[in-house]
Amino acid sequence: MKKNSAGMHLTDSKRKPFVIGYIFRRLLIMVIMILLVSTMIFLLFRTMPGDPTASMVDPSIPQEARQALLERYGLHESLWTQYKIFMGDLLRFDFGTSYFYNRPVSRVIGDRLPATLILMLTAMLFAYIIGVFGGAWMAWKRGTRLESAGVAFSLVFRSAPTFWVGLMVIMLFAVRLGWFPAQGMRSTGYEGTTFGEIFLSLDFLRHLVLPALTAGLYFLATPTLIMRNSMLEVMSEDYIEMAHAKGLPERRVLYRHAARNALLPVVTAGALFVGAAIGGQVLIEVVFSWPGLGREIVQAVTRSDYPLAQGSFIILSTVVMVMNLIADVLYAFLDPRITY
């Protein structure tokens, strides 16, 4: 209950003795899921046409050389042997070496993942802050033109392809108005190397604005509309009338009592939305030349860089699962009725 900073102190401190056990159980399931996802993706890649050497070598190279390459990457082995090696490595957190980068996949991903995550989390944060307050406000204003306008606004941006909005946003804010940089994650030749220097600098934040805005506008409809519906539902609850009957100020009823409860389904929906959101990042990354993992996946797949594509896919899956877990735990913190 540390999360509840709203000034409420009267809580039963031993309310959630099972949280640790629950998280542990979930993590266990997650590991199994990851192994399943890995198996699936492994098999998918082996059924892919075109062996990786095709795009790796200059076409003018003799056939024997291609054979040598296949052997170097273990691609001449039987499927089962390849699978055993792959899974064995995976259990040691070894995704293998990228055919293209000649570099451990984990390091390639490590370079790219933070950029993807930060962009996504910023966009989600943006969408959720605006969406939660906006949704609550729309529920309050229900039946008015303002509400219709709010609904239409959020749905229009949910209906617009992000890459298209991205192009428009670049044209407007970067090219015409020149307010923000259009491409990349930081200025050319930016020196910073530590996490703080990279991700907390003003330069980075300026680059973050447009892509995060584009992604955020797309995400916006989910929290806004769910919050609105949920608020409408909650506002007809007896405890809201009770809060009024207690003579509490209207704003307190709206935000302390109604919004707090209405938030619960928003959190759940958000968790399920992450899966769609993190995949959709690819488009934003392409449009804004954002050096994220999504672009890497696209390249790895087109070049049949199995280890990198597999690794990225597995990592993205893991991110989705971790986000789901976080949302569930968050939900439990928000709703005291949930016990594990």
Partner: protein
């Protein structure tokens, strides 16, 4: 509910109309030849090569008018390579291209490698499966002829045969049109097949304004900093500025002594090279003949490196003392100086000798002896290099930043915003036009450069299979290609004309045979005529049939 039902019915009806095919009976016209089989043309995807994609679709439309079904199937590049280099050799036709890398100025690649029958087997570069003994003899002869004028005779004659046999139809060559910011930099060299970001520009270009480190834009990511792992021209564009080479091709594509002060052709299979004195690697250690020997031998030990073809003729490398390095060849190899010596980088032996498998080394911080010193590389973002103060040749800029974009569109934006100073790839026609139009003076700071390219893009045909095994069919096909559409419309004129069997174009002045007549006009009537003359017929349904044996 009613509305939903209607919707379902309507949509289903649409699908039936949309997806339903016509199944017509084959009313075999008995006495005619076999039907021309249904063909598949594997073309590029629009995003990898829009012109090839378009031309393939157009050819499909043209053949349909002649009663031949040709499915132009856009195919991913790696899949395409897998198909045309695969064991099964199972394909009819495809579109692809050969890039005009500087070393391909030597005719060996375009004459021997892609047309000789010895390469017509699976995995070989003769993906047209073209076999002509008369041609083979010429191709062999030019290879071992060390006298350049005599060699030219062979090459010219070989071109004549190709133009007649039409093993492939060249669609077009694309010019190297690039751009740079003339308000910041001057003195750039534009090289054929290389563009602006070649081996020379970074050394000779000069800063005008305050910015002394140009930002070079790329729309393709760098994958590798390891010379043994590097597989694309994009990797090499940077590595060749960090690692030095014995010989460099000058702006006029003349071999110029570089890290080597001179070379001597002792006999057809022996070449002596003298290494320049006083050079150091970026870590301060001297460059020695041992490093050179090590580098060449390392590449010789890897059959699948980017340079495998170039070191293949080398038998051994000897050190003769006095900085002289001797290359013993297995057979006479005419292009040795222009290709091999200009391509193989000199690596520091003290760094590499301890590494087991060279190809698996990431080489996080490359150390070479070239004009630029590696600073850092951020995957997907940028590679930064700084001027190497100790270099024997003057360098005017303080370094460069190789900045990576996800799309040409992004580069154009940053060109306009002044973030980028020059590009390292060929601009697409649309962007050339936009920069030239200079709407509202937005691109006034940019200069467009143009150089012809010796590479070419073509429609490949499997000469082993009907109907492509019929020479008349191939020739007729070359009349169905709208070369004007490719050059004037799709390329906006930034390129040169293709033609039937053209492999060495006019940009390669020395080797190109101007006297060979090349069919390069669109004339469907003539095509029909050629086919009719060759015995092709059309049945009652308008389908084309093969000539009777």
């Amino acid at each position: 509910m009613k509305k939903m039902v209607i919707l379902v019915v309507l949509l289903t009806a649409t699908m039936v109309v949309f997806g339903g095919g016509r199944a017509e009976q084959d009313a075999a016209d008995a006495e005619m030849g076999a039907l021309v089989p249904e063909l598949t043309l594997r073309s590029s995807l629009p995003e990898s090569n829009l012109v090839n994609y378009e031309m393939a679709q157009e050819l499909s439309d043209e053949l349909a008018k002649l009663g031949v079904t040709l499915n132009a199937q856009p195919t991913d590049f790696s899949v395409l390579l897998d198909v045309i280099y695969g064991e099964e050799m199972d394909y009819d036709a495809y579109t692809i291209g050969w890039s005009g890398r500087v070393e391909r100025l030597d005719p060996d690649m375009f004459i021997y490698s892609i047309n000789h029958s010895s390469n017509a087997n699976p995995g070989g570069n003769n993906t047209s499966r073209y076999v002509n003994p008369e041609f083979d003899a010429l191709a062999d002869a030019q290879r071992s002829e060390m006298d350049i004028a005599a060699r030219r005779e062979y090459v010219w004659e070989a071109q004549r045969i190709l133009a007649e046999d039409v093993p492939r139809i060249t669609l077009y060559s694309r010019s190297n049109v690039q751009t740079y910011n003339h308000e910041r930099f001057t003195g750039l060299e534009n090289m054929s097949g290389e563009g602006l970001f070649n081996e020379w520009s970074p050394m000779v270009m000069e800063a005008i304004g305050e910015r002394t480190v140009p930002v070079v834009a790329s729309n393709v990511n760098i994958t590798n900093l390891n010379p043994f792992g590097a597989r694309s021209v994009y990797d090499w564009r940077n590595l060749r500025l960090i690692y030095d080479k014995l010989v460099r091709l000058s702006v006029d594509v003349e071999p110029t002594p570089w890290a080597a002060t001179s070379w001597e052709v002792v006999d057809d299979t022996t070449i002596d090279v003298t290494l320049r004195e006083g050079m150091n690697f970026h870590d301060g250690r001297p460059v020695t003949p041992e490093d050179v020997k090590f580098s060449y031998e390392a590449f010789m030990s890897l059959p699948d490196s980017y340079f495998a073809a170039f070191v293949q003729p080398i038998d051994s490398v000897e050190l003769l003392g006095n900085n002289v390095i001797r290359f013993n060849m297995e057979y006479a190899y005419a292009p040795f100086i222009t290709t091999t010596l200009t391509q193989i980088p000199i690596l520091p032996k003290h760094i590499w000798e301890g590494i087991g498998d060279y190809t698996q080394y990431y080489n996080e911080h490359p150390v070479g002896s070239g004009p630029f010193e590696f600073v850092r590389f951020r995957n997907g973002e940028e590679l930064v290099a700084t001027k190497y103060e100790d270099y024997f040749h003057p360098v005017n800029i303080d370094g460069f930043v190789f900045k990576i974009y996800a799309s040409p569109e992004g580069v154009l934006t940053d060109l306009e915003l002044g973030v980028v100073d020059m590009v390292s790839y060929d601009l697409i026609p649309a962007h050339i036009n936009q920069i030239k139009d200079n709407d509202g003076g937005r691109y006034s700071h940019l200069t467009i450069t143009e150089a012809p390219d010796i590479g070419f893009f073509y429609i490949g045909m499997n000469n082993n299979r009907p109907p492509f095994n019929n020479k008349a069919f191939r020739v007729a096909l070359s009349y169905l290609v709208d070369y004007d559409y490719a050059l004037d419309v799709l390329l906006d004129g930034y390129g040169s004309r293709g033609g039937a069997g053209l492999v060495i174009n006019a940009a390669n002045e020395f080797w190109h045979n101007p006297e060979v007549p090349i069919h390069n006009t669109y004339n469907p009537e003539r095509a029909r005529q050629i086919l009719a003359e060759a015995g092709f017929t059309w049945d009652s349904q308008g389908r084309m049939r093969m000539p009777l044996e």
